[in-house]
Symmetry: C2
């Protein structure tokens, strides 16, 4: 991951010029060849086709359904005067990170700068701002990318809280497949180190490098086509057992998606449930989500716990709102308060120094959540290309966002996102 956002910013066509409706992806019966988006040629992950594919990934890849259960969706009330609020918020100005002195950008401009597909802002549990752009609609699912990790990490911490999972155990206690005999990367790692990504593993996640391990990982899971004669791993688990340790565990923070897949595997083992079934029982049903979610699965039926969840926007907002309220939503305690407390208060700023992005100075990472440690105590779930749940306890604000920024890493759009979110928080707090 580049540490200098400006250096790695090639010229991409603007958001307005890559509207997926206007570009006509997958329109027509059949769509003309130049409007096709498919897995076979990797075009499902090629900008600007991603502006369509991220909202339609289940049409391209196998998925399992995360069932919302029966009964009506939980209320997510709209603020009165939302039109006035929209206009107020659109005009809100902020200074992007690293911008020349005096540079100002409005909230409305930031939506385009960030290639936003959909965004919803809750203040005190009410929708004060909600926009669907491109091909998005309220009920439309969208890739949440690594926002998935924060769901996985929270579920793991919940099992720790219940005593079902012992965070001090080494990984092979639960997954003998990753034991010492295997020489595997996690043979000597504790569950806690996995949960906080303080793992030394020979695995690179530089999205700008086509030779990075993340692509092998994705090919193993079937997310990308495999070249003829492919002899690599054919599932997420088969890939995990091949990885080797590099550097110490329990030291610095190093963001590597494979850790979340190990954690998903542990959850599956200790609960005896498919990950998607557990996610439905623990969160989708109790939160009274309004849509079933879809989750990418590999050829062994293993859900991609590191990045495969496709929820609708409001259901991400619901989850954020429950966390903001100490685990409760609409007066019902869904997630134990201690789990939320652990996420918010036990991250290590020291460990974060080694691998945290420059856009989150003084931050931390806990149970696969990102802590800004800013003056409002904001924390977030963050996914590549712009997916986010941003929770600002001081401002009683939650933001859920989907995006399809041409560049993957958050460092590229943090400068036009984090100060926007904070400016809005200050505005709402003062209002």
């Amino acid at each position: 991951m580049s540490t200098d956002p400006a250096a790695a910013k090639p010229a991409f066509p603007a958001a307005a010029d890559t509207d997926p409706h206007a570009l006509g992806w997958m329109q027509g019966a059949p769509p003309p060849a130049e409007r096709l988006v498919c897995k076979d040629d990797n075009s499902h992950f090629a900008f600007p086709r991603t502006r369509w594919s991220f909202a339609n990934m289940r049409q391209l890849l196998p998925t399992t359904g995360i069932w919302r259960g029966e009964g009506p969706p939980g209320a997510l009330p709209t603020a009165t005067h939302i039109e006035r609020l929209h206009s107020e918020i659109d005009d809100l100005a902020f200074t992007p990170l690293n911008a020349a002195p005096g540079t100002r950008m409005t909230w409305a401009e930031s939506l385009h700068a960030n290639y936003t597909d959909a965004i919803c802002v809750l203040h005190r549990g009410r929708r004060v701002y909600e926009r669907y752009l491109g091909v998005m609609k309220p009920h439309q699912l969208h890739m949440s990318m690594s926002v998935t990790k924060s769901y996985t990490g929270l579920l793991a911490q919940w099992l720790v809280h219940e005593g079902v999972l012992d965070q001090t155990r080494r990984v092979p206690h639960y997954l003998p497949e990753l034991g010492a005999g295997s020489g595997g990367a996690w043979a000597e790692a504790s569950v806690r180190d996995v949960m906080d990504m303080r793992i030394g593993v020979a695995y690179s996640e530089d999205y700008a490098d086509p030779a990075a391990h993340i692509w092998e990982h994705a090919r193993a899971g079937g997310l990308f086509p495999r070249p003829p004669g492919y002899d690599g791993a054919t599932s997420f688990y088969r890939y995990l057992v091949k990885l080797r340790q590099e550097g110490p565990h329990g030291a610095g923070f190093h963001y590597k998606t494979v850790n979340t897949d190990v954690l998903g595997w542990i959850i599956r083992r200790v609960t005896g449930q498919a990950f998607g079934e557990h996610l439905s029982e623990r969160l989708w049903q109790p939160l009274a989500c309004e849509q079933d979610a879809a989750m990418l699965v590999d050829a062994e039926g293993t859900e991609f716990a590191g990045g495969g969840l496709n929820p609708c926007l409001r259901d991400m907002a619901r989850f954020g709102e429950a966390l903001r309220c100490g685990g409760a939503l609409a007066g019902r305690q869904v997630v134990p308060e201690a789990v939320v407390h652990d996420i918010r208060h036990h991250g290590s700023t020291e460990a974060f120094k080694t691998g945290g992005p420059p856009t989150l100075p003084g931050g931390a990472y806990r149970n696969m959540w990102w802590l800004t440690n800013n003056e409002h105590g904001a924390y977030a779930a963050r996914g590549v290309h712009g997916q986010a749940i941003y929770i600002d306890p001081a401002a009683e604000m939650v933001i859920a966002r989907f995006g399809s920024h041409p560049l993957a890493a958050n460092v590229h759009f943090d400068p036009t996102s984090l100060p926007a979110f904070h400016a809005l928080a200050r505005h709402l707090r003062g209002g």
Copy 2:
């Protein structure tokens, strides 16, 4: 399709011995190799793995969602004394077709004989019988196979009724791709002939023949793996344009799935909507279905109108109930009554003689629905391996059924299904 059920009935393990829970398909983290079900080796269509895969097809293939809309699901009330009714119905005896004189089978026995996965019976709109076997649950989706065709045919007749679609036009009027210049099978065919499958096309649908065209069709749509060096069609539409006429149009009935895919293409062209979107707007939302359905799509995003719909059982029952009530459900007219009337009364028994199965003597086929022309005027949507919506107007009864019979064609399980359905109808009518 074999015309002698007995001749084509090899010994398969019984339903009780192929329970997908007991056999452990896809159980474990990861499942052991011998418990895997996947597309790559065709095992997703190999009995007895089908007893799992038909209920989990979206985990194996790309799908689009058929949105149920907002709001609570429509009521599908349970009859009082359902326990007593269950026991009464289970004990009901009938004589299978072609059975030796004096042979009797109970309804309960027929569930196993037919490898039933789930079945629901409505009488006067109330659930009088409902069973979920194997891995099925009320919210679980299941392949409906060619029951899909009856949804497609009804949507087409609805468009005819509205004057949007002219049934007297030749297919190329709507689909120039299938025009005379192409030499295609449908160049001289009318829309009406497509809707009633009175088309002469060189295409075989013998499920027992591995060289039948139906498998090429399925490979084109991506439902089955393609061999190395595959140079066949890569989508449903690309396959359709390759087919050639054989024999006259407008004469005998010949059941060929490709006709439904042509009809789906026409619907897409005249509505300007994706098929799944149209299905959601016309039926899934107005019927207040309780689950989103999933529908298989090919690499061009084309829904498999000939067999790709995966609904939950009760939503199939809802659709049948609406038809039984002349297109209305819960007092709301969803489908125009004239459309239902056309299905029920305009089938040609003469045309049916050429290609109807021996288990439906005197039957007919209209708008992709099967008319039994029995004493109750029953009609049905029928899919391979046991999928069915059976509507008995005289008995005010609707049956929805999912199955995973080892043999594909209905002729193999009609003998233990049709007389069971009719016996239950007579029982309910008398009660």
